[in-house]
């Protein structure tokens, strides 16, 4: 039986995952203009169902049923000034994702739409999320600013 694995080709256009962010207005309408997140080192798409367990007298093992899930997308990236701080460092919640930057989207607690293209093959994964988990770091023997970024998903993923 043939085994088909899913490989990426970093550096080859269209052959590696890319992440873009679009901000929402408070009324749920997207603010036109999406931010493409460059220099991603890795992407992890997390999906974890909560499970409700119970016991029955006629069963030796606990029974379980999945309930709601916790979803998030975790990445590590190399910081780039414009993408991190945005084109306007004082941008607020009604400004575009490009203007706010990743740091601004987190600071403003902005609801966003995250789209991963070429995700796990040729799929596209879309979700609404909040940007969290920033931890920009640099050290003497790793003199490049790096940071984890977590896109905490509200609701489910849409996969196409």
């Amino acid at each position: 039986m043939a085994t088909n694995y899913i490989a990426v080709q970093p550096g080859v256009s269209g052959q590696y995952p890319t992440v873009s962010l679009t901000a929402f207005y408070a009324n749920g309408v997207t603010i036109a203009g999406s931010l493409t997140v460059p220099s991603l080192q890795d992407i992890t798409v997390n999906n974890s169902n909560d499970v409700f367990n119970w016991t029955q007298l006629n069963e030796t093992g606990k029974l379980a049923v999945a309930t709601t899930s916790t979803n998030s997308i975790a990445t590590n990236l190399v910081l780039e000034d414009l993408t991190w701080f945005g084109s306007n460092i004082t941008a607020g919640g009604t400004d575009t994702a490009v203007a706010q930057g990743i740091n601004g989207l987190s600071r403003n607690k902005q609801k966003c739409k995250v789209v991963i293209t070429n995700a796990i093959g040729a799929r596209t994964i879309t979700a609404n999320c909040y940007v969290t988990g920033l931890a920009a770091t640099v050290s003497a023997d790793s003199p490049v600013w790096l940071s984890p970024v977590t896109f905490n998903v509200t609701g489910d993923y849409q996969i196409s």
Partner: protein, 130 residues
Amino acid sequence: MRDQVLAYLDGLDLGTFAMSQELPFDNAGTTLYLKNPKRVYVDLDQNTTEVFIGVMGNNSIDMDVVSVIVYFANDAKNLPADYSDTVNAVVGAKSLYAANGFFKRDYLTSTKYENDLMVTIIELRFYKLQ
């Protein structure tokens, strides 16, 4: 970096060892540090580029590694009294700064025997981001 290493070592007192401005090999392939024991020779820079941080796109962050090898030979049976001092002086060159700045420096020392001579090989490595 060869010029900087040479200039640095020229300014030091190497005891019974002397500095040579020549490369370690002549065009006939003669190994000059074997022909002239107790003379310190500095080879040409060897440059390599490595990926320092790989990213999904085509803009990985690369790192240049400059390697400078220093050779000298002495009697294999009777080690010169100032041998250790000379080795310490040469490895001190790893602390040299370049205009662009190195974020990492290291060295590797090794010895080998050629007939009745002991050859000391010190590789100085300097790392900087492109």
